[in-house]
Protein backbone atom coordinates (compact mmCIF):
# COMPACT_ATOMS: atom_id res chain seq x y z
CA UNK A 1 0.00 0.00 0.00
CA UNK A 2 1.38 3.42 -0.89
CA UNK A 3 1.36 6.17 1.69
CA UNK A 4 -1.28 7.97 -0.38
CA UNK A 5 -3.55 4.93 -0.25
CA UNK A 6 -3.03 4.70 3.50
CA UNK A 7 -3.73 8.40 3.88
CA UNK A 8 -7.01 8.01 1.96
CA UNK A 9 -8.20 5.44 4.51
CA UNK A 10 -6.74 7.29 7.46
CA UNK A 11 -8.25 10.70 6.79
CA UNK A 12 -11.91 9.72 7.41
CA UNK A 13 -10.92 8.01 10.65
CA UNK A 14 -9.20 11.14 11.95
CA UNK A 15 -12.09 13.29 10.74
CA UNK A 16 -14.51 11.42 13.02
CA UNK A 17 -12.62 12.57 16.11
CA UNK A 18 -11.83 16.16 15.15
CA UNK A 19 -13.17 18.76 17.54
CA UNK A 20 -15.78 21.07 16.04
CA UNK A 21 -13.43 24.03 15.83
CA UNK A 22 -10.92 22.20 13.61
CA UNK A 23 -11.73 21.88 9.92
CA UNK A 24 -11.16 18.59 8.09
CA UNK A 25 -9.16 20.61 5.55
CA UNK A 26 -6.44 20.92 8.16
CA UNK A 27 -5.65 17.20 7.95
CA UNK A 28 -2.50 16.76 5.91
CA UNK A 29 0.62 14.61 6.12
CA UNK A 30 2.39 16.99 8.46
CA UNK A 31 -0.45 17.84 10.84
CA UNK A 32 0.39 17.24 14.48
CA UNK A 33 -2.44 15.15 15.92
CA UNK A 34 -2.67 16.67 19.37
CA UNK A 35 -1.22 20.14 18.91
CA UNK A 36 -2.64 21.14 15.55
CA UNK A 37 -5.68 18.93 15.12
CA UNK A 38 -6.50 19.28 18.81
CA UNK A 39 -7.29 15.59 19.30
CA UNK A 40 -7.33 14.63 22.98
CA UNK A 41 -5.55 11.60 24.36
CA UNK A 42 -8.76 9.57 24.70
CA UNK A 43 -9.69 10.16 21.07
CA UNK A 44 -6.15 9.36 20.01
CA UNK A 45 -6.76 5.90 21.47
CA UNK A 46 -10.06 5.70 19.53
CA UNK A 47 -8.22 6.56 16.33
CA UNK A 48 -5.64 3.83 16.96
CA UNK A 49 -8.35 1.26 17.68
CA UNK A 50 -10.17 2.20 14.45
CA UNK A 51 -6.91 1.95 12.50
CA UNK A 52 -6.35 -1.53 13.95
CA UNK A 53 -9.77 -2.60 12.62
CA UNK A 54 -9.46 -1.00 9.19
CA UNK A 55 -5.89 -2.19 8.48
CA UNK A 56 -6.07 -5.40 10.50
CA UNK A 57 -2.93 -4.60 12.50
CA UNK A 58 -2.07 -4.28 16.16
CA UNK A 59 -0.41 -1.41 17.98
CA UNK A 60 1.76 -1.79 21.07
CA UNK A 61 2.10 0.64 23.97
CA UNK A 62 5.50 1.84 22.81
CA UNK A 63 4.09 2.62 19.33
CA UNK A 64 1.92 5.33 20.87
CA UNK A 65 4.94 7.35 21.91
CA UNK A 66 6.18 7.54 18.31
CA UNK A 67 2.97 9.04 17.00
CA UNK A 68 3.12 12.82 16.69
CA UNK A 69 1.84 13.67 13.23
CA UNK A 70 -0.10 12.01 10.41
CA UNK A 71 3.11 10.96 8.67
CA UNK A 72 4.22 9.03 11.77
CA UNK A 73 0.92 7.14 11.71
CA UNK A 74 1.15 6.42 7.97
CA UNK A 75 4.72 5.21 8.35
CA UNK A 76 3.85 2.90 11.24
CA UNK A 77 0.84 1.46 9.39
CA UNK A 78 3.05 0.81 6.36
CA UNK A 79 5.61 -0.95 8.55
CA UNK A 80 2.98 -3.09 10.19
CA UNK A 81 1.11 -4.19 7.08
CA UNK A 82 4.32 -5.17 5.32
CA UNK A 83 5.66 -7.02 8.38
Amino acid sequence: MTSEEIFALLEPIIKTYLPEDVSAKEINHESDLTRELNINSAHLVDIILDIEDVFNIEFKNEDMEKLRNVNDVTFLIQQKISA
Binding site: S41, A42, L44, V45, I48, F59
Partner: protein, 158 residues
Amino acid sequence: MKINEIILQLPYSEPFLFVDEVLSVSEETISGTYTFHKDAFFYKGHFKNNPVTPGVILTECMAQIGLVCLGIYLLDKENSLTSPTFAMSSIEIDFYLPVFPGEKVKVLSEKKYFRFNKLKCEVKMLNNNDEIVAKGTISGMIINKKREETIHSKKLPQ
Protein backbone atom coordinates in the same frame (compact mmCIF):
# COMPACT_ATOMS: atom_id res chain seq x y z
CA MET B 1 -4.24 -6.77 45.39
CA LYS B 2 -6.94 -7.57 47.92
CA ILE B 3 -10.43 -6.15 47.50
CA ASN B 4 -10.25 -3.90 50.56
CA GLU B 5 -6.94 -2.40 49.44
CA ILE B 6 -8.55 -0.87 46.34
CA ILE B 7 -10.49 1.75 48.30
CA LEU B 8 -7.33 2.84 50.12
CA GLN B 9 -5.76 3.69 46.76
CA LEU B 10 -8.65 5.91 45.66
CA PRO B 11 -7.70 9.54 45.07
CA TYR B 12 -10.95 10.86 46.61
CA SER B 13 -12.03 11.88 50.10
CA GLU B 14 -15.14 13.28 51.78
CA PRO B 15 -17.31 14.92 50.62
CA PHE B 16 -16.54 13.45 47.20
CA LEU B 17 -15.89 9.80 47.91
CA PHE B 18 -18.75 7.65 46.60
CA VAL B 19 -17.52 4.12 47.29
CA ASP B 20 -18.28 2.22 50.51
CA GLU B 21 -17.36 -1.29 49.54
CA VAL B 22 -15.97 -3.25 46.63
CA LEU B 23 -17.86 -6.55 46.55
CA SER B 24 -15.98 -8.39 43.82
CA VAL B 25 -13.33 -7.67 41.22
CA SER B 26 -11.67 -9.47 38.34
CA GLU B 27 -9.84 -8.36 35.20
CA GLU B 28 -13.20 -8.14 33.43
CA THR B 29 -15.74 -6.94 36.00
CA ILE B 30 -16.17 -5.12 39.28
CA SER B 31 -19.06 -4.54 41.66
CA GLY B 32 -19.39 -2.27 44.65
CA THR B 33 -21.85 -0.38 46.84
CA TYR B 34 -22.48 3.07 48.21
CA THR B 35 -25.09 4.52 50.54
CA PHE B 36 -26.00 8.16 49.95
CA HIS B 37 -25.87 9.87 53.32
CA LYS B 38 -29.05 11.73 54.24
CA ASP B 39 -27.05 14.83 55.15
CA ALA B 40 -24.89 14.91 51.99
CA PHE B 41 -24.11 18.50 50.90
CA PHE B 42 -25.96 18.38 47.57
CA TYR B 43 -29.38 17.55 49.02
CA LYS B 44 -29.63 21.07 50.40
CA GLY B 45 -29.94 22.52 46.92
CA HIS B 46 -31.05 19.60 44.74
CA PHE B 47 -33.88 20.28 44.89
CA LYS B 48 -35.24 23.03 47.16
CA ASN B 49 -37.24 21.16 49.84
CA ASN B 50 -37.20 18.02 47.70
CA PRO B 51 -33.93 16.14 48.07
CA VAL B 52 -33.05 13.81 45.16
CA THR B 53 -29.55 12.55 44.33
CA PRO B 54 -28.29 14.53 41.32
CA GLY B 55 -27.58 12.58 38.13
CA VAL B 56 -24.01 13.91 38.11
CA ILE B 57 -23.45 12.41 41.55
CA LEU B 58 -24.89 9.05 40.44
CA THR B 59 -22.56 9.27 37.45
CA GLU B 60 -19.62 10.06 39.71
CA CYS B 61 -20.46 7.08 41.91
CA MET B 62 -20.66 4.83 38.83
CA ALA B 63 -17.31 6.17 37.60
CA GLN B 64 -15.56 5.83 40.97
CA ILE B 65 -16.62 2.20 41.41
CA GLY B 66 -16.91 1.08 37.79
CA LEU B 67 -13.92 2.80 36.28
CA VAL B 68 -11.48 4.05 38.90
CA CYS B 69 -11.62 1.07 41.29
CA LEU B 70 -11.34 -1.30 38.33
CA GLY B 71 -8.53 0.81 36.86
CA ILE B 72 -6.57 0.62 40.13
CA TYR B 73 -6.97 -3.15 40.14
CA LEU B 74 -5.88 -3.48 36.51
CA LEU B 75 -2.84 -1.23 36.96
CA ASP B 76 -1.83 -3.19 40.03
CA LYS B 77 -2.05 -6.40 37.96
CA GLU B 78 0.35 -4.84 35.47
CA ASN B 79 2.59 -3.76 38.35
CA SER B 80 2.38 -0.20 37.16
CA LEU B 81 0.47 1.37 40.02
CA THR B 82 2.27 4.59 40.91
CA SER B 83 -0.34 7.01 42.31
CA PRO B 84 -2.21 7.40 39.03
CA THR B 85 -4.64 10.18 38.31
CA PHE B 86 -7.86 9.64 36.41
CA ALA B 87 -9.47 11.83 33.81
CA MET B 88 -12.97 11.06 32.69
CA SER B 89 -13.09 11.33 28.92
CA SER B 90 -16.56 10.30 27.85
CA ILE B 91 -19.89 9.42 29.39
CA GLU B 92 -23.20 8.27 28.04
CA ILE B 93 -25.73 7.31 30.67
CA ASP B 94 -29.49 6.85 30.78
CA PHE B 95 -31.30 7.35 34.06
CA TYR B 96 -34.38 5.34 34.95
CA LEU B 97 -35.26 5.88 38.61
CA PRO B 98 -34.58 8.54 41.25
CA VAL B 99 -32.29 7.81 44.19
CA PHE B 100 -33.40 9.39 47.45
CA PRO B 101 -31.36 10.35 50.54
CA GLY B 102 -30.26 7.30 52.51
CA GLU B 103 -30.62 4.84 49.61
CA LYS B 104 -28.01 2.16 49.05
CA VAL B 105 -26.97 1.46 45.48
CA LYS B 106 -24.92 -1.23 43.82
CA VAL B 107 -22.70 -0.55 40.82
CA LEU B 108 -21.77 -3.27 38.31
CA SER B 109 -19.20 -2.61 35.66
CA GLU B 110 -17.91 -4.66 32.77
CA LYS B 111 -14.69 -3.80 30.94
CA LYS B 112 -15.01 -3.23 27.22
CA TYR B 113 -11.32 -2.55 26.80
CA PHE B 114 -8.29 -1.23 28.60
CA ARG B 115 -5.72 -0.13 26.05
CA PHE B 116 -3.13 2.62 25.86
CA ASN B 117 -4.27 3.84 29.29
CA LYS B 118 -7.86 4.24 28.18
CA LEU B 119 -10.40 2.24 30.12
CA LYS B 120 -13.90 1.91 28.70
CA CYS B 121 -16.65 0.17 30.65
CA GLU B 122 -20.35 -0.60 30.53
CA VAL B 123 -21.71 0.42 33.90
CA LYS B 124 -25.03 -0.20 35.65
CA MET B 125 -26.43 1.09 38.91
CA LEU B 126 -29.08 -0.88 40.82
CA ASN B 127 -31.13 0.11 43.86
CA ASN B 128 -31.93 -2.04 46.89
CA ASN B 129 -34.79 -3.74 44.99
CA ASP B 130 -32.35 -4.67 42.20
CA GLU B 131 -34.08 -2.24 39.85
CA ILE B 132 -31.93 -0.45 37.28
CA VAL B 133 -31.40 3.15 38.31
CA ALA B 134 -28.93 4.11 35.60
CA LYS B 135 -27.01 2.44 32.84
CA GLY B 136 -24.44 3.47 30.25
CA THR B 137 -20.86 3.69 29.06
CA ILE B 138 -18.02 5.51 30.79
CA SER B 139 -14.46 5.97 29.54
CA GLY B 140 -11.46 7.54 31.15
CA MET B 141 -7.75 7.99 30.77
CA ILE B 142 -5.45 6.77 33.48
CA ILE B 143 -2.48 9.06 33.79
CA ASN B 144 0.39 7.37 35.48
CA LYS B 145 2.35 10.18 37.07
CA LYS B 146 5.81 8.66 36.95
CA ARG B 147 5.47 7.75 33.32
CA GLU B 148 4.08 11.14 32.37
CA GLU B 149 7.00 12.83 34.06
CA THR B 150 9.52 10.86 32.01
CA ILE B 151 7.69 11.58 28.78
CA HIS B 152 7.39 15.21 29.71
CA SER B 153 11.05 15.63 30.60
CA LYS B 154 12.01 14.25 27.19
CA LYS B 155 10.11 17.06 25.54
CA LEU B 156 11.85 19.81 27.49
CA PRO B 157 14.59 21.66 25.61
CA GLN B 158 18.07 20.87 26.88
